[in-house]
């Protein structure tokens, strides 16, 4: 772990802050804490953290508002914390520039995995035309995907779908984002396209399509390409 990575936690609940602080410090992060949205925006500007964990349910202003204010000037990766039953809040936050989300109650290993993915993306690896995600190798220049050395026979739409996920590998991509990038802005409501193509892709990629390991559905929110490096 990089001991210099500083994470800003914007969260009003002391218990959650303490849990985050203990787990993150245990994993080698330096932790900064803000108890309100206003303090969070100020600290994000003055302390320049490498990562931000933002609770959507803050007492002084909505987390969504805090996110928008931070996004006005900073591309810092932001992980959102939300409660279970608010898919629309999650989607709104993701479409407003959040990089990923976690649902309360969350597990610490999951949190650390999400943060690692965000760090990886913030290092800007996406500029390399050839990328490896575990057993899967992407050649973005040649429109080629190989799985365990075997080339996948994908239609252009399937490739487009998989590519969007791979460009954000490990991170959630919202339904809207995929539909817009693969089928264009007129298709953003056609979520059934996603079900059909996710099922098709799984048949080609997954060992057991009914128990997917690569393409993970997050119902009502989006899809995630999961991998282990």
């Amino acid at each position: 772990m990089n001991p210099n990575k500083r994470v800003l936690i914007i969260e009003d609940e002391r218990a959650i802050r303490r849990l985050l602080k203990t787990s993150l410090e245990g994993a080698g992060y330096a932790v900064l804490e803000a108890q309100s949205g206003e303090a969070g925006i100020r600290d994000a500007a003055s302390l320049r953290p490498e990562l931000v964990i933002l609770d959507l349910g803050l007492p002084d202003q909505s987390g969504l508002e805090v996110l928008k204010r931070i996004r006005e000037w900073s591309p810092v990766p932001v992980l959102i914390l939300t409660v279970q039953d608010s898919e629309s809040d999650k989607v709104a936050a993701l479409d407003s520039g959040a990089d990923d989300y976690l649902t309360k109650p969350f597990s610490v290993p999951e949190l650390l995995a999400r943060l690692r993915v965000l760090e990886r993306h913030s290092r800007g690896v996406a500029s390399d035309p050839i990328q490896v995600f575990g057993d899967m190798k992407f050649d973005f220049g040649g429109h080629l995907v190989t799985l365990r050395g075997k080339e996948l026979k994908l239609t252009s739409t399937e490739y487009g779908f998989l590519k969007v996920l791979a460009l954000h590998a490990g991170r959630i991509v919202t339904q809207r984002q995929i539909l817009k990038e693969v089928w264009g802005p007129n298709a953003v409501e056609h979520t059934h396209y996603l079900r059909i193509y996710a099922a098709q892709l799984r048949k080609k990629i997954e060992d057991d399509p009914s128990n997917p390991k690569w393409i993970i559905t997050e119902p009502g929110v989006g899809y995630r390409l999961k991998f282990k490096n």
């Binding site: 597990s107 739409t157 009502g220």
Partner: protein, 501 residues
Amino acid sequence: MQNSSPDRSSSLLESWYVLWLTALVSLLGAVLEVVAGYRAVGFLFLVFVMLLGLVYSVGPVLFAAGLSALVWNYLFIPPRFKFFVSNSEDFMMLLSYAVAAGVIGVLTHRLRRMQELSALRDRSSLFLVDFSKILASDQGRDAVALKAMEKIEARFKLRVGLGFAEGSTFLSPQQMMVGDREKALMQKALKEGSFQGWDGLSPRHLAIPLQGAAGPSAVLLCRRDSDTQLNQESKELLFATTEPLAYFLQREKLREKSLEAARLRESEFLHQALLDSVSHELRTPLTSLLGSTAALEHSVKASDLGPNRELLEEIKASGERLNRVIENLLDMARLNSGALALKKEWHDPAELVQLTLQGLKAPLSGHVLKLELAPELPLVRMDYRLLEHALSNLILNAAGYAPPGTEICVSASVHDGNLEWRVADQGPGIPEGNLERVFEKLFRIPGSPAGGTGLGLYIARSLLKAHGGDAWAVRRPSGGAEFILSLPLEPSPGLPGELAA
């Protein structure tokens, strides 16, 4: 008013008086004739008829006009003592007299009648104003209705009572006795929406229905004493009073309803606010509790934990269970308040099963899971989170009742245009009589193991019904219970170009 003329006996009496009065005036005329001549006598008769018009009714007045014309002709106009007029001037005068006397008599009578009527109308409207004032007061329905009825009793010399269409309330200022016949009369008035009684069948009782927004809402029952007779005007006034009374009752009913609705809204609002706050207050410590156990598990080596590992597992399992209870309570609150908004999207029904089971790994770890997903299941339009909640409630219910080590089979297939998810267990099953009851709120099969809120199945069915589907249970022939969630399929959505081609 045509039918308000006094009856015949009083007319005859008046005519009898007219006869004598005419004789009296004739005597006066005889005196007058000596001084002013026979023509002046005509004027005397004219004044006489006019005065009669102020007191008597039309018949006797016309009788007086005719009689006096004859008397004048016979006794005064030459040639005397003959019904004959020799002078053409006299003839014209007699004729004009007869016409003038008749017209004046009738006009005067009419004027008097109009005055009487308008006085009556004034009294009636004064009464109605007073009556409305009583109804406008703010003392509660029953107190006001009783006061209004006292007013009616005083005005019409009746005994009255008020019976309501809903419930068995009967209000009466003087505790009027109501027998079966009166009840039947009131029922009939309610049913037919028209007044009943004061006829051969029921000479003393009258039942007037009071019209509400949706049919008669109450009946006013009036009892008259045998010697009380209401004339037409009074009857009309009595009916007129029932209108403001009916409005009053309707208004009271609406007010009661809107108060009730406001109370309900307020309580629902509080209910929702309370549950939101409770959910937040419970989830925050729960997040820290579950997060901390996961962090412990993650950071401490299994061997170092030793026997404490089981304790940690227990904390985790309980925390997760508590989390599901909170979920149930929240959905319950939404269902109750009607604030359940469905976010319908197309979803893969097989994926619903897979993801639901993934989330239930820990509570299902003691059972053998079997998955039966029909190939090529159509997409279903549903609120994913709610359906997942319904399905996991069924699965957790099965896991709670079926002994560890037994098989729980979860399947998805299409039946008669419905998508059906089935959860079959090898537990003790459900007694025949309880197949429906298990879906009731807070119902638990007697003697069933502890744990569970009694809300899971109720919520599952409510959520499916909100989708236009249903949930039910059957007994498996091989023993055990099977729960079914069924959702009607909608026409498949249009496919993207590449696939459709």
